[in-house]
């Protein structure tokens, strides 16, 4: 069972979870995803919610449903590359927002990444 953030729809959280697993390489191109019911039992949510997750992921061309066979991570490497880029942009955006809130400007952000990046 998964603990969900209370203020965001569950289907979005699960989409992000699967996208994260794909970007990290825990789910590979062309790999089969669990069946709707298996996944629902596994994470502890309604079957209708998982159906929506798979539908929306398919709409975004991240997964493909093959009739009678199940749902698979796309094997389109271009799409996977843009997915990886999108995730990167999202994380950087989040980082920049936090830094801005604290009052750091862009130069400071770039410098701190360079310096700390070398250290770590």
């Amino acid at each position: 069972m998964v603990n969900f953030n209370p203020n965001e729809p569950i289907y979005l959280q699960l989409m992000n979870r699967i996208i994260g697993e794909i970007v990290r390489g825990q789910r590979k191109a062309g790999e089969k995803l669990p069946s709707v019911r298996e996944y629902a039992v596994d994470v502890g949510v309604n079957v209708n919610t998982i159906q929506r997750v798979y539908r929306e992921l398919e709409y975004e061309a991240i997964v493909e449903t093959k009739r009678g066979q199940g749902t698979f991570v796309t094997s389109n490497s271009e799409r996977l590359e843009t997915l990886r880029d999108d995730k990167k942009r999202e994380i950087v955006h989040h980082f920049m927002k936090n830094m801005q809130e604290m009052g750091y400007n862009k130069e400071e952000m770039v410098m701190s990444i360079k310096l700390q990046g070398d250290e770590e």
């Binding site: 069972m1 209370p6 965001e8 039992v41 994470v43 502890g44 949510v45 309604n46 079957v47 209708n48």
Partner: protein, 233 residues
């Protein structure tokens, strides 16, 4: 579809439901929530034909509800007394003889899923296992409507989790609809499609759980508190 039209239910002088109207679509898991005495159990009993409305009418699939509705509706009561003299296997045989839609193979699967044993005598089961069993036989009916009255109350977290997982695994939402009354909202929330919020015998609002998160950025408990505070959304 379930339709409740202008239904009131009085017990002597107390009004348990007060001019309620609501329509519920099939293929969903719907939570009936609200504080104690808000009318949740009365609503379920009216839907199952165990009670009759003082006024208004209750329709299931366009048919007026009578006691005969039990042929297409599986009802899990919150009563604790439950066939103490049977073994689990005898209870299954009994259910088989009573309900045409009872699916024995499914029952055996759920019994196994719940880690129960057929030869166990019901009176010697722990409270948790007795409730696992009640859920097991209720979900073993391929009834179009399943009504669960407080399936989690007084049970430990492991049993609650087993019941939740059993519901996800064994309910077929392409042919079945589930109504649950509960106070354990946080735990049930991930499996609910919709909630119906009651107060003082009235339906305050019916809404999709994902819409509530999306529109208000709130989980159901916080949303419910807000609605109760304002008396509206």
């Amino acid at each position: 579809m379930i339709e409740v039209n202008n239904v009131s239910k009085r017990f002597l002088i107390t009004k348990s439901l007060d001019n309620c109207s609501i329509k519920l679509e099939t293929g969903k898991i719907i939570g009936i929530i609200g504080e104690n005495g808000s009318g949740k159990t009365t609503l379920l009993k009216l839907l199952s034909g165990l009670l009759r409305p003082s006024s208004g009418d209750v329709l299931i699939d366009s048919e007026k509800v009578t006691r005969r509705i039990s042929s297409k509706l599986a009802y899990l009561t919150d009563a604790d007394y439950y066939f103490p003299y049977f073994t689990i296997e005898e209870l299954i045989r009994y259910y088989e003889s009573q309900f045409a839609d009872f699916d024995t193979e499914k029952a055996l699967q759920i019994i196994d899923f719940m880690k129960l044993k057929l030869e166990q005598k019901i009176k010697y089961l722990s409270k948790g296992n007795r409730n696992r069993l009640k859920i097991a036989v209720t979900l073993s009916r391929n009834a179009p409507y399943i009504l669960l009255d407080e399936p989690f109350s007084g049970l430990d977290p492991l049993v609650r989790k087993a019941i939740l997982k059993g519901m996800i695994q064994f309910v077929d939402l392409s042919t079945q609809t589930v109504l649950i009354t509960t106070h354990e909202i946080k735990e049930v929330e991930p499996i609910l499609d919709e909630v119906v919020l009651l107060r003082d015998g009235r339906v305050l609002v019916k809404q999709s759980v994902e819409e509530i998160r999306e529109a208000y950025g709130l989980d159901i408990v916080s949303w419910m508190e807000k609605v109760y505070e304002k008396g509206d959304i």
